[in-house]
Amino acid sequence: MTSKAHALSLKILAECSTTKARACQMTLPHSIVETPVFMPVGTQGTLKGLLPEQLEELDCKIMLGNTYHLGNRPGPELLEKAGGLHKFMNWNRSLLTDSGGFQMVSLLKLAEITEEGVKFQSPHDGSEMMLTPEKSIEIQNSIGADIIMQLDDVVHSSTTGSRLEEAMWRTIRWLDRCLKAHKRPHDQSIFPIVQGGLDTELRKKCAYELIKRDVDGYAIGGLSGGEEKSDFWRMVSLSTDILPDDKPRYLMGVGFAVDLVVCAALGCDMFDCVFPTRTARFGSALVPSGQLNLKSKIFSSDFRPIDDQCKCSTCKNFTRAYLHTIVTNETVACHLLSVHNVAYQLNLMKSVHDSIIEDKFPQFIKAFFIQQFPNKDFPQWAIDALDSVNVKLNENTQDNGQSSVNVKNKVSDSSNIENSEIS
C-alpha cells in the first residue's frame, strides 16, 4: 500500500491468526529483507569481528551503521568521495543508519541539547560538532543507507515530567525538519521515531502525530534503556497498535532472544542490538536454552559443538573444549563466537518468520519458552505481554508436543549443563 515508488516497499506475506505478529517481505534498494529481522550493528563501518563477506555467508540482509560515529570518522566528505558506506565497507546489501540521537543518552556528559540540535564533543579529539536534524540527514544522505532515521530528542527511559514531554514534541518538530532536509527520498527512506518515554498518553500522542506524515516505516524508540520490562512491553504494544499495518515497525535496541520473540508477537518487524556480538567478545555463546559461558571450566572437556543444530562455521568446526581453551587467550575466539551468535540471532528470526508463515507462531513461542525456561519459571512480563496477544504461556495444552517440532530440540543431557550456565 506504499503510495509512490518509494525506496521501500512492504509486502505482508502472512499475519499470525493469534498474535499481532506478521511475516513480511521488505524490498529495499540493496536487498530484499524478510521480517521479522534482526539487524547486527556495525558501529563504525564494520561489524566487530566479522567481515561483510562472512555476514553474507550467514545470509544477513541488512545491518546497521552508526551516524554519530561515522560522521565523526571518517566523516561525510570522505564517505561521499568513497561513494557511500556500501562501497566504502564493501557491503552490497542493505544498511540502516541511526540518527546519532542515541548518543545523546550514551554520551550525555558530552552533549548539550537545544531546539537547534545537539552539540557534541568528539570523544576522539574533543572537537565540537553540532548535530541538527538537517546535519544528521545530510550525513545520512552521504552515508547512503537504505533506511535512515530522523534525529530524535532521546531522553533516558526513566525520565518523566516536562522534559519528557518537551522531548516528545521536539522529536516531532525535528521530524519535519528532517523530512524537509532529506535529499534522497528516491533511494533512502526516513523512519520517524515514536517517543514519549513510559508515558502512555505521550506515546499515543506522538504516534498519532507521526502517522500523519508520509513515510515508509516507523521506529519505536526511547525504550530498552533499563526500564521495567512490564512498562517496556506495554509501550511497545501501544505503539504497534497505533502504527499502520502496511509499514514496517522497527523496535530500536532490542536483541535478547526472549525480547525478540515477545516483541515480534506484539507486531514489531525489525530489531537491532549490539548484544550478540558484544557478549561473544566476553566469551558467551547464545544457544536455544540461553547462553553458554565458555569460560566456565565445565566445558574444558566438552567435545560437542556449541549447538549441534547450528549450521554456522564455528559449530561445524570447533568444540566447546577448544573454544573454552582459547576464549581468554586468543582473539580468534571473539570472532568465532561472534559468527555463532550472529548466526543464532538470524536463525531465530528465520524460525519466527517461518512459523508465522505456517501460522504456527503461538506454538513456536511456547516451545521457545520451554527451552529457555525448562522449569517454566517464565518472567511475569513475558507472560503478561504474550497474554495480551492471546498466547497463554502457563496453559498446559497439547500444543506443546506438536510445537516442539518447530524449534530445534536439544539433546536432553546437554540442556542440563546449558541451563546451569544461563547468566
Partner: protein, 379 residues
C-alpha cells in the same frame, strides 16, 4: 663471527636480539621443491584439495610464462599479502625459479633437483614456503578466503602447551584422527610444530641441561625430553622441531655456544632414541636444530653432527631470541655463516629458518638456500 663476550652466561638478562642470518647454498642460488610428508600426506595434494580456485597457481605445469604474481596480490612465496612488498619482488621472482620435483622426506629424502633451466616456467612450487601461523584474529573461515595460502600451518609449543587444553584432550577428541591438525581443524594443512613463537621474545637464561624453557601465557614452563615426547605423541604434527637450546646470539661466548650445541645434540640423541620406539611418531618428520651462534666453526660442527644423526630436515636457530626486534635483523651480516653452514647440509633435505621476516629478507633467505619460513611478519 662475533667477539666473545666474557659476561655472557646463560643467566644474562638483557640479551640484545640479533637478527638471524640465512644460510647460503653456494651451489644453488634458488631451490624449489616439493615435499612429501612421512604420513603420506603430500603438501602438493593439500594445495590441490583445499584450494581449487587457486588451480591457476598450482597447475602451472602446462602453462608457460604465466605471471602468477601479477594476478594475485597474495604471494605464495613469502605468504605476504602486502601489495608493496609484492611489487618489490615481482620482477625478481619471475626470473629466478628453477623447477624441482618431488622430494621424499622419509626414505632418505630424495631431493630431486631436476632443474629444467627454464627460468620462466614455474612448476609445482612448494619450496620455498612460508608457513601459516595461528595468528591473532585470523579465523579458519577467513584464512580460507585468502587464495594460495601455503598448505602448512605453524604451531608452537609455547602456545599449545600453555593451554588448559590438556594433552589428554587430544586423545579423547575426534576418534578419526588424533593429529593436532584435526583438533585445531587444520586438517587441510600439514602442521609444523616449533618450540617457540617466532613473534615473541624468548627471555634469555632459563635453559638447563635437562630441558628448555618455553614461555607460555601462564609463564615459564620447563620442557624436558620426556615431556617433549609426550606432547609430540599427543599432537602428532607432520613436522616437529627437535627440542633445543637456542639461547645464543651475536654476543654469546664460545662457552655458551658450545653449551647450546651440546645440549641440543644431546636432546636430539635422546629424542631420536625414543622416537624409534614410538609408534605414534612414525609419521612425523623430525627436524634437527643447528646451533653455533655467530661462529662459523661451531655452526659447521653443529651442522656436521646433526647431519650424522639422519634427521628429516634442518632448522637454523640460535641467532637471536625471537620477538619483534628481529624485524630489523640484517641477513647480510651472517651471509658467510649461512653459506658455510649450508655447505655441510645435504642438498636433499629441507632447511627451515624462523624470523626471516621482511619480504626482501625472505628473498635473501631463498638465495641462501633456505626452504621454509615462518609468517609472523604479515600475520
Amino acid at each position: 663471527m662475533q667477539v666473545a663476550d666474557a659476561l655472557s652466561q646463560c643467566t644474562r638478562q638483557n640479551d640484545e636480539p640479533v637478527i638471524s642470518p640465512d644460510e647460503d647454498d653456494p651451489y644453488v642460488t634458488e631451490r624449489t621443491g616439493q615435499m612429501k610428508l612421512p604420513s603420506g600426506r603430500n603438501l602438493a595434494d593439500f594445495l590441490h584439495n583445499s584450494e581449487t580456485e587457486s588451480a591457476t597457481v598450482i597447475n602451472v605445469n602446462n602453462v608457460n610464462n604465466i605471471d602468477i604474481f601479477s594476478e594475485c596480490v597474495y604471494d605464495a612465496d613469502t605468504d605476504d599479502v602486502e601489495e608493496i612488498a609484492y611489487k618489490k619482488k615481482k620482477t625478481k621472482l619471475n626470473k629466478k625459479y628453477e623447477t624441482v620435483n618431488v622430494t621424499q622426506l622419509n626414505n632418505d629424502s630424495l631431493y630431486d633437483k631436476t632443474t629444467d633451466q627454464c627460468s620462466d616456467k614455474l612448476d609445482i612450487l612448494i619450496f620455498p614456503r612460508c608457513m601459516i601461523r595461528n595468528a591473532p584474529h585470523l579465523t579458519l573461515d577467513v584464512l580460507k578466503k585468502i587464495q594460495r595460502v601455503p598448505p602448512i600451518a605453524h604451531m608452537y609449543l609455547s602456545s599449545l602447551q600453555c593451554s588448559s587444553f590438556d594433552i589428554r584432550c587430544f586423545k579423547e577428541d575426534t576418534k578419526s584422527s588424533s593429529n593436532c591438525s584435526y583438533v585445531f581443524k587444520f586438517s587441510d594443512y600439514a602442521v609444523y610444530c616449533s618450540l617457540h613463537d617466532p613473534a615473541t621474545e624468548v627471555p634469555s637464561g632459563y635453559n638447563e641441561k635437562s630441558g628448555t624453557a618455553i614461555w607460555t601465557k601462564g609463564g615459564k614452563y620447563k620442557l624436558d625430553v620426556n615431556h617433549f615426547m609426550q606432547i609430540q605423541e599427543a599432537f602428532q604434527p607432520d613436522i616437529c622441531e627437535a627440542l633445543y637450546d637456542g639461547d645464543t646470539n651475536k654476543d654469546s661466548t664460545r662457552k655458551r655456544l658450545l653449551k647450546a650445541m651440546d645440549r641440543t645434540l644431546n636432546f636430539l640423541d635422546e629424542i631420536q632414541d625414543k622416537w624409534k620406539s614410538s609408534q605414534k611418531l612414525q609419521n612425523t618428520a623430525l627436524f634437527g636444530v643447528i646451533e653455533g651462534g655467530y661462529s662459523i666453526q661451531e655452526r659447521q660442527k653443529s651442522a656436521h653432527e646433526t647431519v650424522t644423526r639422519n634427521v628429516d630436515g634442518y632448522v637454523l636457530a640460535g641467532f637471536h631470541n625471537n620477538g619483534p626486534k628481529t624485524e630489523i635483523f640484517d641477513l647480510s651480516q651472517v651471509t658467510e655463516i649461512c653459506q658455510k653452514t649450508m655447505e655441510c647440509l645435504p642438498e636433499n633435505k629441507p632447511r627451515l629458518m624462523q624470523n626471516v621476516w621482511r619480504p626482501d629478507k625472505v628473498m635473501e633467505g631463498i638465495t641462501l638456500g633456505i626452504d621454509m619460513f615462518d609468517s609472523s611478519y604479515p600475520l
